[in-house]
Structure formats: structure tokens, C-alpha cells
Amino acid sequence: MELFIQLTLTGLTSGAILALAALGFVLIYKSSDVINFAQGEFLLIGAYVIFAMLTQAGLHWTFGLVLTIAVAVGLGVMVERLVLRPMIGEPIISVIMVTIGLSSLLKAIVSTIWGNTPQAFPPFIPSEPVNILGATVGQDRLWALVIAAVLLGGFNLFFRRSREGIAMRAVADDQQAALSMGISVKRIFAWAWSIAAATAAIGGALVANIVGVGPELSHFGLRVFPVVILGGLDSIPGAIVGGLIIGLLEQYTGGYLGQGLNQVLPFVVLIVILMFRPYGLFGQEIIERV
């Protein structure tokens, strides 16, 4: 029972962080049909930037986090403007190649500035273990879970209620029609990329707080792919549910069936689910009226 609770909480935490990174991926795909292979690197950058703010610049973590988000937003806007906008109208495979190139570039920049050795991170969230229903769990994980959950809930509201959020979904549905009601598609793309970079960066900061920084953080980012495919490439709730499912599955298989298997089983489940729901759990089907 204790093991179960521990695995559940750990799984939810990593799942919620994965969901944050996946949310950005879905946003970009939804609004502009671009598959962003650099999403994992946004997470990596977030982790290293906040690392630099806290250790190298010695800032308080609140300032550090705000600045990290600002850097991420700037990066997102820059990537959209300089890299993706010139690619509008190019074949989808070229755009994919560009984001793969971008991912290598960002990785290279990080290792040039900060090197390749993993480093400990000054935890800005208290990490003393706490006792929940008999299970011992690091407090940092719980906080990460809470922060990620609040952010995900906030974004979900943003997309359903706010004019800007609805406009983003409108652009995803029909760009020209959105344009005809005065929605600036350029602006929406910039929004999508900045939100994607910012949420991934926050995810990166939360992971780094738990495990430290190192180049292998971008592997964590790679796991957004099973998440979004499971949830449905174009579904925001799908990214959240997909993230939690993958996070939990990894922990349960790791805890009950042994390490090693936990890298494989999520993919097995993924394939099984896709056999029944080819668009993913929440993916939008093409609406055909009869």
C-alpha cells in the first residue's frame, strides 16, 4: 500500500511535468500544424537558465523563475519569427527537419555554455520527505505536482474561457476564417510558441529541482512524444491525461515489475490504445455531417 501511494505520487508528479511539456507541443501542432521536435530542448533550456539564475547570478528563486519564463517566452517568439515563419507554406517534412535542426542547435548551445557534466541544483523547493498515508515522499515532488496542476488547470481555463484562448483554438480549426474575424494569425503563432517554451521551461525547472541539471534532461523531454500520441496530437486535455497515464505507468511498472521494463511498457500500452483509438484518447476526429 505504501509502495503504491509512493509510486502513485511520484508518477503523478513526473506525469504532470510531462503534461506541461506536452501542452506546448500540442499548442504548436494545433495552431500551426508544426511538429516541434525541439520541445524537449525547451525543457532543457528552462532547467539550465534557472540553474544559472540561482547558482551563477545568485538570485532569489522567485526572480529566477520569473526571469526564466521571460527568457523562454523570448526564445519562443524568436524561434517562431526567425525559424518557423519563413517556413510557412513549405512542405511539412521541411518544417520537421527544421525543428530537428533546431533541437540539435539548442542542445549544442546548452553544452557550450554549461558543459556536459551533470550538476546538483540548489533546491528552491524544500525537499524534506513528508509522510502521506504511511508512504514517504519528497516534499519537492509534491510541490512540483501542485505547481504543475495549477498551471495545467489555469491553461485549461484560458483555452475554454478567454477570448485569446478561444481565438487560438479558432485558428487551429480554420485559419482563413479566423483571419476574417480580425484574429491575427501571426500573433496567435507567437502566443503558441511562447506558451510552449514557457510551460516546458517551468517543467524543466521543476525536474531540475528534483534531479539536478544535465544534458540527459532532454531525454525527459523526448517522452512528450508517447504522451501526445496517446492523448491525441491536437487535444489539450489529451496532453494532460496522456502525461499522467505515462507517468503513472512508468512508476508502476518500475516499482512492481522491475526497472528497465518501465521504459518499454508505456510504448506497449500506447500501441494497444492506438489500435482502438487511432486519433489517440482525445484526438479530434474529422467532423463529417451526413
Binding site: R160, R163, I166, A167, R169, A170, A172, D173, D174, Q175, Q176, A177, A178, L179, S180, M181, G182, I183, S184, Q284, I287, R289
Partner: protein, 263 residues
């Protein structure tokens, strides 16, 4: 209010579609723009609303003036903010959004924080939309989607609303209903309307003034009553012979060669 002066539109740098198109839309009126398939009606509307760019079209000559300002070459979102709203051909609702979310998207450019008042105003014109407010728009019937498309336009409170073939694919009874509402919008909201239609009879029944275009330019214009009397309009757009019976397609084709305004 709106003046097109000799505009020329080219697609993909080579296809010349509008060849010196001129027309005027006076404030507060309903102006009809008629013409057969491919005449360039939709292109005209897109030239006005700035929607040519995504289709690789360009206004290469002439001027487009709206309330004394030159709007040719403005971005689509600027033009909406200036008060021109195009309801595109084929309804184009946001299929995966709910009815109400579609309306909110229509009011995107409004400054007010809350749009609930305007949403209610739209529901006043289209009670059927209110019943389906939380339904996914993609599953609405064609008529309801057309109502939603017009409702979205109302949300922006435009001074000029441009409707591209609102009757397309709808049952006659529904078309009548929608045209009644268009008329009411014109009177109650003081919205000027530019109405593109292939169904000439319908358009002439609501318009204050009408233009007929063919191959990228205006070939005839006038008050609906006068146009109805015009032999060519009767022949080719109302499909009537002098005795008032419907003509067969072959006969229409035969007469086509004699269209006076083409010679």
C-alpha cells in the same frame, strides 16, 4: 461609404481575375452583387477584406476607400477593426468549437471585456442558436451554421457586413427566414450590407441597389425594379422568357451569345 475604383486583382502573379472592377456601397443600404460562377464576386469581397494574401492574391491596381480612408493593402485584422466584416462563402464555422465559442471568436476585436450582452443580441435574432449554445458547431445543420456565421459577424458590430452567398445549399424556406433576418439587421443595427448572390431573384428582393458582374468587371447596375425589367437580366439571371415561363438550359445557352453587355 465604400468605393472600389477600377481595381485589378491577380492570383499567383499571373491569373488576372478582376479587371477594372468599380462599385459603391452607400451607408445604411443593402447592395447586391450578382453574377454567375467564377465571375469574381468572392474575389471582390476578399480584396475588400484583406483576405487575398493567404490565397496568394494581390490588388495590383485601383483603389479601395472606406469612409474616406484608403484600405487597400491593409491587413485583414486592421480592416475588421475599421468596421468591415466578411461572412465567407461556405459558412466556415469553427467546427470543433461550441456555438457560443464561435460567437466569442467573432467578437475578438471588440474592446469591451464582456460580450454577454452581444451574445444575447445574437440569440435574439437566432433563437435556434441559443438552444444549441453548448453544442459543437460542426454538428449543426447547414442552416444553423449559416445563422452562426452571420451571428459571428454581428458580434463584431461591423459598420459594413459582407455576405458571400448566404443562400448556398439551403432549403428555400430557410433562405427566406435568413434573408428576413438580414433585412432586420440592416434596419435595426444600422449595418450596411453588401450581399453577394447567385440567386438573383432573392438578392433583388432585398437589395436597394444591385450590380451585376461578369468576367471580373461590372456589366450592369441599377435599382432592383429596373433590373427586373431588363431583358438580359430576365433572360440570364431570372431565367424567364418574355412570357414569364422558365427556359430550358439549351435555350439559355443559345441566347448567351446575344448578351448585349458583352459585345
Amino acid at each position: 461609404m465604400l468605393t472600389l475604383n477600377n481595381i485589378e486583382v491577380i492570383y499567383n502573379d499571373v491569373i488576372l481575375v478582376l479587371k477594372g472592377m468599380s462599385m459603391q456601397v452607400p451607408e445604411g443600404k443593402i447592395v447586391g452583387l450578382l453574377g454567375s460562377n467564377g465571375a469574381g464576386k468572392s474575389t471582390t469581397l476578399k480584396a475588400i477584406s484583406g483576405l487575398l494574401k493567404p490565397e496568394d492574391g494581390e490588388v495590383t491596381d485601383g483603389s479601395i476607400e472606406f469612409i474616406g480612408q484608403n484600405i487597400h493593402n491593409s491587413d485583414a485584422d486592421d480592416i475588421v477593426r475599421k468596421g468591415i466584416f466578411q461572412v465567407m462563402e461556405g459558412r466556415r464555422v469553427f467546427e470543433h468549437l461550441t456555438v457560443e465559442e464561435n460567437l466569442i471568436a467573432g467578437g475578438y476585436t471588440r474592446r469591451e471585456m464582456s460580450l454577454s450582452h452581444d451574445v444575447d443580441m445574437v440569440y435574439g435574432y437566432f433563437p435556434r442558436l441559443k438552444e444549441r449554445r453548448n453544442q459543437t458547431a460542426g454538428y449543426l445543420s447547414g442552416g444553423e451554421q449559416q445563422m452562426l456565421a452571420i451571428g459571428r459577424a454581428l458580434m463584431a458590430k461591423p459598420r459594413l457586413m459582407m455576405l458571400d452567398e448566404p443562400s448556398l445549399g439551403l432549403a428555400p424556406l430557410l433562405v427566406r427566414e435568413i434573408f428576413e433576418i438580414i433585412k432586420r439587421i440592416n434596419q435595426e443595427q444600422k449595418t450596411t450590407i453588401l450581399l453577394v448572390e447567385q440567386n438573383a431573384n432573392l438578392a433583388l428582393s432585398v437589395a436597394d441597389y444591385a450590380y451585376i458582374m461578369e468576367s471580373g468587371r461590372i456589366v450592369l447596375e441599377g435599382h432592383p425594379a429596373d433590373l427586373r425589367e431588363n431583358a438580359d437580366v430576365r433572360e440570364f439571371y431570372l431565367g424567364l422568357t418574355e412570357v414569364g415561363s422558365r427556359k430550358s438550359y439549351r435555350e439559355v445557352k443559345h441566347y448567351k451569345r446575344r448578351k448585349r453587355w458583352l459585345s
